[in-house]
Symmetry: C2
Subunit: 331 residues, 2 copies
């Protein structure tokens, strides 16, 4: 028995290592600079005899969501949810038919809605995201994701996750990284699909949040958390390093974003001691997805692009670096 | 090779299962109602063919810290740190010698300090916890923990973790639970020792926090997060279920606390569908630790004790349920 167990301990890691080594990682990535940079970074921090070795517990990887892990055009998908939710709720809010910004949502007047500015957008978010329990909100988002379709690609939003990024998440986890989402999007919205779509459990999703109020006896006689309209935390820009500090408590060694809202997260990640991997996803593919950067209303990439060029961070070129964009490209 | 690998795969789990089964769990717990309740709950949710089965990903266990995982008398250990830090900083704050509440800290006038109320205590916390980078704060807390000693037990505070609770954390993790701290204490204070003392990594420590400010170029030319004096989040009372929702995003199936500040966390845990385990640590041992509940200034246990009796939650009696309190009881 002693002999058998010793042998088991010796053989098992070899078999596991062989299995990992035989599968070519990142099959949807072209064999180019970007893929090589990723694979070389992971190899570099994995060599136990190297000065660059990073222990598994410190292999924290953070990813922006909108425009980094899934698409974000023509409007943030969570905002599409908010617009649909306002339409649904309008039957019990007849006053919305004559009140901006709700009347603009109901009449589909996007121009007037945009003109209502951040104040109007926040009103739409608050009205569509509050006044219900956290559990009811999960259910509502789940139903929406199961039925709503993207206007251009005519498929569920969850099918607009980027296949190369899904492979990157899997690859990093296979190399003992712990993967986190750090997004300006609503944390409770993302958690509904993050585990199924990205393999990222709820407790590794960091996002913006509203205040919740605990009631010991809810309408069903059980304790409940009610979503309130007040914003609690905006996980964007300088909020991202603060959110990383508050939720994770370690500095990531790898970060990927796609817009100016990620600049501080990338700086914070790059600024630590030892090897660091920092990258931007650059939207360059009009045919298969979208091409936008400095002048975009959604996912504006300007200052962070300058900084990436200055600091020689990796800039992932979607058109040239990715063999496919979505799992099903209609190919 | 194929034969060998199949054999390895079959044998390895059996060996692991035998190792787990042969070690008697919770050796510092008396064989009584409390230990049996824990072991039976874990067995109940682990049977895959049972209606009470809980998948590993849903095995979320949350623990209060002060008075639940380590001692909290005669004052919260983090407050002892704050008092020592004020004394250290007083050399660069001569004005503190004539300003309450700092002059009371410096002269050791505990009565006057207590009389300054919550406002005074918050001033002491803010002065001792802000104006430095998160990384410098970690270093300062680490140095303090390495040198400061508890006034009664005359040993480092980290040696005042409860041995039976350390065993409970280990036991739950061996049964695929993910263990979290959910404490009113400062998240950055706890993270300095939580991994080493409790085996709980930083990203599974939830606590109260202050605002942090990101600066792209700190004093050393690198990005930094500066701890500000403003409170951001109080993870106590109804803040605990809100914190659980925000940080974990799943409802725990097991929760342990020791004071009224845990009441809502316990209600939230107990209120979910399916099997739930909810417990209070009751301080009943004057000889080996302390005995206190309804009238204590620190760790007051009154309403939560009533509720535990009403709901038949487990009440852990430290004197009778625990064979030892600390790893080294001086026995
Ligand atoms: Ca983005
Ligand atoms: Ca406590």
């Amino acid at each position: 028995m002693h002999h058998a167990s010793t042998r088991t301990l010796l053989v098992a890691p070899l078999i596991a290592a062989a299995a990992v080594a035989s599968a070519e990682p990142l099959p949807s990535w072209e064999d180019g600079v970007s893929k090589r940079a990723i694979v070389e970074f992971v190899a570099r921090i994995s060599r136990e005899d190297s000065a660059d070795y990073v222990a598994p517990r410190e292999r924290i990887a953070v990813f922006d969501n909108d425009g980094t892990l899934w698409a974000e055009q023509p409007i943030y998908f969570q905002f599409a949810f908010a617009l649909d939710r306002v339409k649904t709720l309008s039957s019990v809010h007849p006053e919305w038919r004559s009140t901006a910004p709700f009347k603009d949502v109901l009449s589909g007047d996007t121009r007037a809605l945009v003109a209502s500015g951040q104040k109007g957008l926040l009103q739409v978010i608050a009205a569509s995201h509050s006044g219900i329990t956290t559990e009811d909100f999960d259910t509502i988002v789940g139903s929406w994701l199961a039925t709503a379709k993207h206007p251009r690609f005519e498929r569920p939003y969850t099918e607009l996750a980027y296949q190369p990024m899904l492979e990157l998440l899997d690859y990093l986890r296979s190399q003992d990284f712990k993967t986190f989402i750090v997004s300006g999007g609503g944390v409770e919205f993302m958690r509904v699909f993050a585990e199924q779509v990205y393999g990222i459990p709820p407790e590794q999703v960091i996002g913006s949040s509203a205040v919740t109020k605990f009631v010991a006896v809810g309408t069903n006689g059980k304790p409940a958390l009610i979503k309130e309209p007040q914003i609690d935390f905006i996980d964007d820009g300088p909020g991202k390093p603060s959110g990383i500090d508050r939720f994770i408590g370690r500095r990531p060694i790898l970060a990927v974003g796609n817009s100016d809202g990620d600049l501080q997260m990338l700086q914070w990640t790059a600024g630590g001691a030892g090897p660091r991997f920092v990258a931007l996803v650059h939207h360059t593919d009009t045919d298969r997805e979208y091409a936008y950067d400095r002048d975009s209303q959604v996912g504006k990439l300007d200052k962070a692009l300058d900084e990436a060029q200055r600091q020689r961070w990796l800039i992932i070129d979607m058109k040239h670096d990715w063999r496919r964009i979505f799992a099903d490209n209609g190919e």
